[in-house]
């Protein structure tokens, strides 16, 4: 088969893979039986999702490249270090960022690629095994095309713009290709690992559930890495520039580490006078070794893709079964246990379950430079509430995964609302506990945040109940077909806005009290939060 035909086939397969990655977060079972428009919309959403993801990553890469290099235009010394050190820092940080961005962007789609049974569809067609593998490889390229291209253009262009040599520019192209191959290998490796150890993992013990959450945490690290890289780009550059200068004689060791080897090589090739011969030799040698390693990584990627193509990678994880005992609980507890089990195997849900606690750490660090007080407290609580209140719609949408079955179960609206609210409140409590742990660790007085945070529990519960009540009224008959945030952005806004309004009401009231009579801040805050909680509890109780 000609390349053009394989490329065309890969387009169809890529669409299917991206559709599957969206489909898994949507009401898979409850697509209206004859609602072709609904299905068409979902297909469009899948396409948009992939494009949004690609374009965002491309923008991040371009923006990061400019943040790294533009300030160096026309300067010989930057950030208090020599220009060659700044170039080492810029090139190395850019390559690390490209690695992060591509891995983070592609992980979900790559997991779909690994877990999808593409082979089942492609194998019966008149295609050879090699052609099937090529189609899957082309799928991978299609998933990452724009970001890969952007990285390949941005680094040499930016480098040449700041006065780099042609030789250095050429090495920066090689360095980018090597980084991209590493990124693809890491993405496929992580996706494969995730699928086999997490998503496809069975077992019944609590330890296995905890382990899955831990794996998930590792899986999410690139996301937070990206966040930090974007937010603290200049700080990273400054720190690295100082770091390389301070290292002095022991710098040779850093020369051996990717991506610094390329950073040194690109920098010294442009300015041979500044280079020490041993450092240049070491960076050349290690860069060559990384190129060789990248070649093997590339071969590993193609072999793995070939295995996907022949359907040998999707293996069922069979656990040894000792008994058939089940432990039925109260309905609300049954729902919570089910949600946790699903979240422990699904990154799109787990990320939200773990986000509030992780976000509190980020917020606590961000606010640590401010004086403790009411403003910091409300800032921290606003941040936590924003992420926590994304949870109820997400948890509600879990029901949609098997709604064609679960809708036939004797489930009350209020039981569902109670279960999801309790889970949201539990996750919020984890955030407050995390805050307490950070306070103890950094020996900072977080008493106000923790006190208000504990009382804020009522408000979070009320806002969760409000969101879930709106959802239950709107989607109960539709079979929980809520969909994901991209698919129905307006719906999510419709739900989140009242939720946020209710959650922020105690803070607004307390702020007014703070301005008028400071001693009433706490009672006013508690009073409004309690009133909201009681009102929403009554509304939910009357749901039936």
């Amino acid at each position: 088969m000609k390349f053009r035909e394989l490329w065309r086939v890969s387009s169809t397969v890529t669409k299917e893979v991206s559709f599957q990655s969206v489909f898994s977060t949507r009401a898979g079972s409850s697509l209206p039986r004859r609602g072709s428009t609904g299905v068409a919309q979902l297909v469009r959403n899948a396409k948009y999702n992939m494009w949004i993801s690609k374009v965002l990553t491309t923008i991040f890469i371009c923006a990061f490249g400019f943040v790294m290099f533009i300030p160096q235009l026309g300067q010989t010394v930057f950030l208090g270090t020599s220009k060659e050190f700044t170039i080492i820092a810029s090139v190395s940080t850019f390559l690390a960022a490209v690695l992060f961005f591509i891995v983070f962007m592609g992980l979900q789609v790559a997991t779909s690629l690994v877990s999808s049974k593409i082979a089942d569809t492609l194998s019966p067609l008149p295609l050879s095994k090699k052609e099937v593998s090529n189609v899957i490889f082309l799928c991978l390229i299609r998933i990452f095309d724009l970001p890969l291209l952007a990285a390949l253009v941005v680094l040499p262009t930016a480098y040449l713009m700041i006065g780099g040599s042609i030789a250095g520019g050429s090495i920066s192209v090689v360095a980018t290709i090597v980084t991209e191959i590493f990124a693809l290998a890491l993405t496929i490796g992580l996706a494969r690992f995730f699928y086999s150890k997490v998503a496809g993992g069975g077992g019944r013990s609590k330890w296995k559930t905890v382990t899955r959450f831990l794996f998930m945490l590792v899986w999410m690290v690139p996301a937070f890495g990206t966040y930090f890289v974007i937010n603290f780009a200049e700080v990273i550059l400054k720190s690295f520039a100082s770091f390389t200068q301070v290292l002095g004689p022991s710098m040779e060791l850093l020369v051996l580490v990717f991506p610094f080897s390329f950073g040194f090589l690109v920098s010294y090739v442009s300015n041979l006078q500044a280079a020490s011969i041993p450092t240049l030799a070491l960076s050349t040698m290690s860069s060559v070794l990384y190129v060789v390693f990248a070649f093997y990584c590339f071969r590993w990627v193609t072999t793995t893709l070939r295995r996907i193509g022949t359907g040998r990678i999707v293996g069922a994880v069979r656990e040894t079964v000792k008994d058939t005992i089940i432990r039925p609980r109260r309905p609300w507890l049954g729902i919570i246990r089910k949600d946790l089990a699903i979240a422990s195997r699904s990154p799109s849900y787990a990320v939200l379950f773990l986000l509030p606690a992780l976000q509190v750490a980020v917020l606590a660090v961000s606010f640590s430079s401010f004086e403790a007080g009411f403003v910091v407290t409300t800032g921290v609580l606003t941040g936590i509430s924003m992420t926590t209140l994304v949870l109820p719609p997400t948890m509600f949408s879990i029901e949609g995964l098997a709604s064609s079955y679960t809708r036939s179960l004797p489930l009350r609206k209020r039981t569902l609302i109670l279960a999801k609210t309790l889970l949201a409140v539990f996750i919020y409590s984890l955030s407050v506990i995390a805050l307490l742990a950070i306070a103890l660790f950094v020996k900072r007085d977080f008493t106000s945040e923790i006190l208000f945070g504990a009382l804020y529990l009522f408000s979070i519960a009320a806002a969760s109940m409000l969101e879930l009540t709106i959802l239950a009224r709107k989607f109960w008959k539709e079979g929980f077909a809520l969909g994901n945030v991209y698919a129905r952005l307006s719906t999510f806004m419709l739900i989140l806005v009242p939720g946020y309004a209710l959650a922020w009401a105690p803070m607004i009231a307390a702020f007014v009290a703070y301005v008028l009579a400071e001693s009433f801040v706490l009672p006013v805050f508690l009073g409004v939060a309690l009133a909201e909680f009681i009102a929403m509890s009554l509304i939910v109780y009357r749901q039936g």
Partner: protein
């Protein structure tokens, strides 16, 4: 004890402008195995989904043991349902799934476990108990759905194409269970395209086409009603649904190619 397990009157279900079920009425009594037959797209699955509360009708009355289906919890508590497309929570294991359904149905642990052990053994799914549903074959997923439907010993079984994907052993067990369930006072409604199965199991058959009930009764009663259909239920079905004409010509045309 109520005579009617299911009462459906003037049921209308539509998807946008498309009317899938158009004024359907039928009853199912205790001790009855009611077969809902019809060509593809006739409205069988839609009807069954309304009976179990998955879909809301546009008009009509549906009662399960005298309880309107709008009284969701009470009505659904009496039903065991196996959907046509078995879409369960893929990331749960069968054990987690049974725990979830048993919790929602408020089952007592002892009784649930005793029944589960027997059902799991009968349908040979014990070894898959801790394997995620996503990793199971279609047939095993079907078995999980069947076991979940039978776990709470429902009075009414609603089975949509329950035999699809089942191996011969499980298929035989399920057929025996259907007959036994009706004999001991329960009721069963099931849809199928396998006429031989319907003929063997059903005490009453309803044939629907384009959302309307076009024939109902025992196989013998239908045979008497339909002129020229003296053979099997398949002949009666094809005659009633007006699909018989032209079949032979089409087969011949295909054979001549």
């Amino acid at each position: 004890m109520q005579d009617f397990a299911v009462r459906v009157e003037g049921l209308v279900v539509s998807y946008g402008t498309f009317v899938a079920v158009d004024g359907l009425s039928f009853n199912v009594k205790n001790n009855e195995v009611y077969g809902l037959l019809g060509p593809n797209g006739a409205g069988k699955t839609t009807t069954l989904k309304v009976l179990v509360g998955v879909l809301e009708p546009r008009a009509g009355k549906v009662e399960i043991y005298d309880t309107p289906i709008s009284n969701e919890v009470a009505a659904k508590s009496q039903i065991g349902y196996v959907p046509e497309e078995v879409v369960l929570f893929d990331s749960l294991t069968p054990r987690e799934f049974f725990e979830f359904t048993a919790s929602l149905r408020r089952l007592e642990a002892g009784a649930a476990n005793s029944r589960l052990e027997k059902l799991a053994s009968a349908f040979d799914i014990t070894r898959y108990f801790d394997t995620p549903v996503a990793a199971l074959s279609m047939g095993n997923k079907q078995k999980v759905a069947i076991v979940a439907a039978l776990l709470h010993e429902p009075r009414l079984l609603i089975l949509d194409e329950p035999l699809i994907g089942l191996d011969a052993r499980s298929s035989k067990i399920l057929k025996e269970l259907i007959v036994f369930h009706a004999k001991k006072g329960g009721a069963v409604i099931f849809s199928t395209h396998i006429m031989e199965v319907a003929e063997k199991l059903c005490t009453k058959v309803g044939i629907i086409s384009k959302g309307k009930l076009i024939g109902e009764g025992t196989v013998d009663e239908l045979r008497k009603l339909v002129k020229g259909a003296e053979g099997s239920l398949e002949d009666i079905f094809l005659k009633v649904t007006e699909q018989e004409t032209g079949i032979q010509e089409l087969i011949r045309a295909l054979e001549e190619e």
